[in-house]
């Protein structure tokens, strides 16, 4: 059976793998029949933001660390010490602090995380060109056909990657190795932190059999409830369904479920996963229903969305406004534009119209603005509104503002509205 030492990267092939590495004595040995033939991997950094903070400030090493924004915000990342006390990502901050009152709360330092992420990305680039980042701290990699080039099978190169991340960057990550993305993503989560898990073709069916369907990436609470209504909780429940019946009941998701239940996932690892939407939201320090204040937020969010759309050459046909009320109920309104846009002015005005038309009293704890149904920028903002004769001038002003900012920095010129 093929085996690999994650400490010294020694490759073995013995009938029964030893408990410790024969060359370095490390117990961090993985053995699996398909270890040297599988090539689809998912790499997930361990408590990434918190790990970067601990690396940059060694005093934090033994303390529970929570990354997140403000008293009203949510937990973005919790280190493993904080997790022991029950803190989880996306948990409201007040709840996290109740569970873990001695936690050190740190505001996210995105620039530091982006820098660390770039360094990891550079290391991954050495392994394969087929990388699909999911966020700053996780990515799929397809190492098919790279064994000849590297002189080692993918498993060895992946073990070397996390070893280098630890040695050179002081950050740990967990690897999931399998024969498709769906299983690789599940695998990386099995042995966290600093883990390495393999799901081979031979044991795929047995592995999935009793697992809950919520393991599927993209099956959230709503989908889970839907599935539960149909009596589907585990993968074994899915296997009892005919493909047509699943399709009839769940549409496109049904087809996907049918394949996933059999451990099949034909999606490719693609560097250019198309962006589907661009959005931004903010949680308030205090719940508010003040229209002036909300107007300022709508503008800043619209401008942020527009900046990102412009940077990527995208424009959106649909503008969405999202409001979360103080009681956590959600209000979303969307409008489809005849002429797609990437302009802050038009995103703002559309979102503002949606806000006015919603006729809701608030108060709100969160507001978000986004664009979706994306098209290339060339196809956008082509037909000015007949009833808005100054729109053309505002567009010119926005383009001029963008040029000034490109030259003198983002704060060189701002709208008065942004100060609200």
């Amino acid at each position: 059976m093929p085996a690999l030492c994650r400490s010294c990267l020694t490759e073995l092939n013995t009938s029964s793998p030893p408990r410790r590495c024969p060359s370095c004595g490390s117990p961090r040995l993985i053995a699996h029949d398909e270890l040297f033939s599988l090539s689809i991997a998912h790499m997930d950094c361990d408590a990434f933001y918190a790990s970067v903070e601990k690396r940059d400030n060694p005093e934090l090493a033994a303390k529970p660390v929570i990354i997140g924004g403000g008293r009203r915000g949510v937990v973005s990342t919790a280190c493993y010490i904080a997790r022991i006390q029950g803190v989880r990502s996306a948990m409201p901050m007040f709840q996290a602090l109740k569970l873990c009152p001695n936690a050190v709360v740190i505001r996210p330092r995105m620039s530091a995380y982006v820098e660390a992420s770039r360094a990891i990305r550079a290391m991954m680039d050495e392994l394969t060109p087929d990388i699909e980042p999911l966020s700053l701290d996780e990515a799929f990699m397809d190492l098919s056909g790279t064994a000849r080039l590297h002189g080692h099978p993918p498993a060895v190169m992946l073990a070397r990657l996390v070893k280098r991340m630890k040695d050179e960057l002081g950050l740990t990550g967990s690897i999931g190795l399998s024969h498709n993305k769906f299983l690789a993503k599940i695998a990386s989560d099995l042995d966290k932190p600093n883990g390495f898990s393999v799901i081979g073709k031979a044991e795929t069916a047995a592995f999935l059999h009793d697992k809950p369907v919520r393991l599927i990436w993209g099956v959230g609470q709503a989908a889970q409830a839907q599935l539960e209504k149909a009596g589907i909780q585990r993968f074994s429940d899915l296997l009892r369904w005919e493909r047509d019946d699943l399709h009839a009941r769940f549409g496109a998701m049904g087809d996907r479920l049918w394949h996933l239940a059999r451990g099949e996932d034909r999606r490719r690892v693609s560097a250019h996963a198309p962006i589907k939407s661009i959005s931004n939201e903010t949680t308030f320090f205090e719940d508010t229903s003040d229209p002036e204040l909300l107007d300022g937020h709508i503008w800043r969010l619209a401008e942020n969305v527009a900046d990102r759309a412009k940077a990527k050459g995208h424009a959106g046909r649909v503008v969405t406004l999202k409001l979360k009320r103080a009681n956590h109920t959600l209000l979303t309104r969307r409008l489809s534009l005849r002429d797609p846009t990437q302009l802050a002015d038009r995103i703002y005005r559309t979102a503002r119209d949606l806000f006015d038309a919603a006729g809701d009293q608030g108060p709100y704890r969160l507001i978000g603005v986004g664009i979706s149904d994306l098209v290339p920028a060339d196809d956008a903002d082509r037909a000015p509104d007949l009833l808005d004769p100054t729109a053309g001038q505002r567009t010119e002003a926005e383009r001029a503002t963008d040029r000034i900012r490109a030259r003198f920095g983002k704060d060189a010129i701002i709208k008065g509205r942004a100060l609200r």
Partner: protein, 372 residues
């Protein structure tokens, strides 16, 4: 209640009723048509709370009375009955059932009490006048394509009917726009309409109204108040709330100084636009017009799907001009022209373009160009 009525007469009345009732309503009574038999007439009344239509049809009334029954079901039944059949409707108030008999067919429908039916409150109309059906038909037919469907700008979801000052004096005017194109249609001011308040007639009402206007000889009695409008023929009365909003000042949108004049056969133009637009990308449907002396070149260049070009002989004597439009908008305004050539007046490739029929200014259209 018991009466007999000719199938064709009944079908017409019920068809009008079922198109007014809202298909997806949550209040059961609103799905019903109120049937009232009295004297030698039967009234069919349907509403969606914004529009009410009352259709009066002659019938042999044996026993006066009233009840309500599902408009859609009754329409489906009558539609499927043979032409020329005599239909007898009998209401059994105690059982809450309406029997529909025709020949050997017999239907038994659930009813709801007539007292539950919301009859639209009558209101005071400040202006009453009469207009020939063809005049109203022209006003609404030529403007309705430009009505907006965008709900955030609800005040554009209808046709703005009002009295305006035109070159030749005061006119009855209909305007509709969605911010991309605009239609402004004028008609001679009918007697008594001079003090009519301007009202925005909702899109659905415009659709329902159309069914009253087919008869060229009909005179339509129009009554207008600040909140409601009523159109009536001897048989049908259509009452509608108007949109509670302010229609934007459209006059500043209509270009006055456009001097570059293109004259083209509207049908030829429309066909050519339609042909070249075939290859344009599904959504933007942009067509480029390149103008030089007496020549118009229509072209589409869609990187993903292909390119197309077509030349037309036209009358044009100004400087060269290249301007882009949404093909659908061009087709829609070109199809409004029915007698003479289409005359386009351009300014620049970024300014609104005006279109009219020959030199007739009683129907003008404005369309916004798009960047190509």
């Amino acid at each position: 209640m018991k009466f007999s009525i000719e199938r064709g007469v009944l079908l017409k009345a019920v068809a009008q009723a079922q198109s007014v009732v809202e298909r997806r309503n949550t209040i059961p009574i609103l799905a019903n048509v109120l049937i009232e038999a009295d004297g030698s007439d039967v009234m069919f009344r349907a509403t969606d709370l914004d529009i009410e239509v009352v259709d009066k049809a002659p019938a042999q009334v044996e026993r006066a009375g009233a009840t309500t029954v599902s408009a859609v079901t009754l329409h489906e039944i009558v539609r499927k009955l043979p032409d020329g059949a005599l239909v007898t409707l009998t209401d059994d108030g105690a059982a809450g059932r309406l029997t529909v008999e025709a020949g050997r067919s017999n239907f038994n429908l659930a009813t709801l009490p007539k007292e539950d039916f919301p009859v639209m409150a009558s209101s005071e109309y400040s202006s009453n006048f009469s207009a020939p059906a063809p005049v109203l038909r022209r006003l609404f037919d030529k403007s309705k394509f430009a009505i907006s469907t965008e709900e955030t700008r609800y005040y554009l979801n209808g046709v703005y009917m009002h009295v305006a000052d035109a070159d030749g004096g005061r006119v009855l005017r209909c305007v509709a726009t969605d911010g991309h194109r605009l239609a402004r249609i004028d008609a001679d001011l009918p007697d008594g309409a001079g003090d009519m308040p301007g009202v925005i007639v909702p899109r659905k009402t415009v659709g329902e109204l159309r069914k009253l206007l087919d008869d060229d000889d009909a005179q339509i009695a129009v009554s207008v108040s600040e909140t409601k409008i009523r159109f009536a023929t001897p048989a049908i009365t259509l009452t509608s709330k108007v949109i509670d909003g302010t229609f934007p000042d459209y006059t500043r949108v209509i270009p006055q100084g456009n001097t570059r004049r293109l004259e083209v056969d509207a049908a030829e133009f429309a066909q050519a636009v339609d042909r070249v637009a075939t290859v344009s990308s599904e959504r933007s449907r942009a067509v480029k017009l390149s103008l030089e002396e007496d020549k118009l070149t229509l072209s589409v260049n869609a990187p993903d799907s292909g390119a197309a070009e077509e030349e037309l002989a036209v009358a044009y004597g100004d400087e060269r001009l290249e301007i882009g439009f949404n093909a659908k908008y061009l087709l829609e305004i070109a199809s409004q022209v029915d007698r003479e050539n289409a005359v386009f007046l351009f300014n620049s490739s970024g300014d609104p373009t005006l279109m009219r029929e020959g030199n007739d200014t009683s129907a003008v259209y404005v369309v916004m160009p798009m960047r190509v």
